[in-house]
């Protein structure tokens, strides 16, 4: 390699190392997962955030603290296998009711889902309080309104849901493949073989944006927290 190229390469590596340090510092400092866009502003121009994140994931792979993906965001979390050592006395476990747990899993696996659809799966009416509780926990959010008569609100999970349950993306929901294979994610009879997958992207074809009042409600709820 000609000498000039070697120098270029050394400089490139130095820039990468510097960016990795910045990435480390920012991700360590925050308790909330960070989006690559939040990080990019602090790196030099033309830094490949995705590649840097990948390098950092590998560096921390076997360590006591890992860099994990949560939806589109990234965060340092203690290694899963060390949980037993770190148990804190003060963590009070919020026990969710059976109804809330079922509702949460139905929304997670069937999202976007309306209340009627949740009720159809459970075979029983869902109290308004159940959904409120899940939204208050920050795990469920209103996504939009289904483009059907009555324009029911559609619900989906949040990034905090992924973070809380240690899931990289909805595709990694436990047992998803199995459920899909068994046709159990359908809201219809098994032979109608079109199996929807949980969807947390932007609004789907059959969804409208939320009405302004819905958002006002949500803000209010946010304020109550």
């Amino acid at each position: 390699m000609p000498e000039g190229e070697i120098e270029d390469e050394i400089e490139r590596l130095e820039v990468v190392e510097r960016n990795l340090r910045i990435l480390e510092a920012l991700l360590f400092a925050s308790t909330e997962p960070l989006a690559p866009a939040d990080i990019a502003t602090n790196l030099g121009d033309g830094a490949d955030v995705a590649a840097l994140l990948d390098m950092l994931v590998q560096r921390y792979a076997g360590r006591g603290v890992n860099l994990v993906r949560r939806g589109d965001k990234w965060a340092f979390r203690t290694a899963e296998d060390l949980g037993f050592l770190l148990r804190r006395e003060e963590t009070e476990s919020r026990t969710l009711s059976r109804a809330a747990l079922e509702t949460l899993s139905i929304i997670a696996y069937h999202q976007p889902a309306t209340r009627a659809e949740v009720e159809e799966v459970r075979g029983v009416a869902t109290g308004r309080g159940t959904l409120d509780l899940l939204m208050e926990a920050g795990w469920v959010r209103m996504r939009g309104r289904r483009r059907t008569p009555g324009r029911p609100v559609t619900y989906g999970t949040t990034e905090a849901f992924l973070d809380h349950f240690g899931i990289e993306s909805l595709a990694d929901l436990p047992g998803l493949e199995e459920l899909k294979g068994a046709g159990l994610l359908s809201s219809r009879l098994p032979p109608s073989m079109q199996i929807p997958l949980p969807f947390d992207g932007p609004l789907r074809d059959d969804e409208d944006p939320l009405d302004p009042e819905d958002l006002a409600d949500a803000v209010e709820r946010e304020d109550d927290r």
């Binding site: 360590f28 400092a29 925050s30 899963e80 476990s93 240690g166 047992g175």
Partner: protein, 267 residues
């Protein structure tokens, strides 16, 4: 929650099969939950359950509950009606031109719903047994939040500063301070001065000459002139002095009136 095999959906504590009929319906999360529980009691895979037997068990259960006059949610009754219909469809052979769903289709639908509910429960259990944040996985204990340092750039001009100072100093001057007292000759004062100056002189002398010493200060000039003139007119009226003016705006001459000897004690 340490135990990874925690069963989140332990069926409600139930008595053995033969006592099922005595169980309170309140322990169930709706008719599907009750059916699922009954199906589990068949101790086979849901795919292999006898839907007919299940329907019969459910109907018997509801019957018992009603006999005991226990309030029961409408959901349960709707399911009972549907299951009674399902039972009849399963037992009566289908006629060729029957448009209604077959008993088998209805049974399959019920099985599907039970399987789906069970699957969702299992999924919820799996979710809760994941290494959850704050239970097995932790965030940074001492986060270093980004502190937004709001720097205020204060703006003020030298003019503002000086104006503020001057305004205050002026405000500080006591309100009862007397402004420069303007000298005003009262008519009485003017008369005394005039009489003293004219004295016993019987020569015509311009009044300004008498007042010369008082007219130097601009502040006094006007008042001295005005008051002396007014007083001189009064002295003329009383016959003490005489006034003469040769032409308009010309000097005003004044002299003691001949024969006015008592000038000094007119008052």
């Amino acid at each position: 929650m340490t135990n990874t095999s925690t069963e989140w959906f332990e069926a409600p504590a139930l008595a053995p099969d033969d006592e099922v009929m005595h169980v309170d319906v309140g322990g169930y999360e709706g008719p599907l939950d009750l059916l699922l529980d009954l199906a589990r009691r068949q101790k086979v895979d849901l795919a292999g359950i006898s839907v007919l037997a299940l329907a019969e068990q459910y109907l018997a259960f509801i019957e018992t509950v009603r006999e005991k006059r226990i309030e029961i949610a409408a959901d349960y009754l709707v399911m009972a009606a549907w299951l009674a219909y399902l039972k009849s469809r399963l037992m009566v052979p289908q006629s060729p031109n029957d448009e209604e769903p077959t008993g088998e289709m209805m049974a399959a639908l019920l099985q599907f719903r039970l399987k789906r509910l069970e699957a969702m429960r299992r999924a919820a259990g799996q979710l809760m047994n994941r290494p959850r944040l704050g239970f097995q996985v932790y965030v940074r204990g001492i986060p270093e939040p980004i502190t937004v340092h709001r720097r205020n750039l204060w703006e003020a001009s030298l003019f503002d500063l000086l104006k503020a100072y001057a305004t205050q100093r002026e405000r500080g001057i006591p309100n009862d301070y007397k402004l420069e007292e303007r000298t005003v000759w009262s008519l009485q004062e003017a008369r005394e001065i005039l009489q003293r100056l004219i004295g016993d002189s019987l020569d015509w002398v311009p009044m300004q000459t008498y007042l010369a010493q008082y007219l130097t200060s601009p502040a006094e000039r006007v008042t001295a002139m005005a008051s002396s003139f007014a007083s001189s007119l009064e002295l003329v009226r009383q016959g003490h002095v005489e006034l003469r003016q040769n032409d308009a705006f010309g000097p005003l001459f004044v002299r003691r009136r001949a024969g006015d000897r008592g000038a000094k004690d007119t008052n």
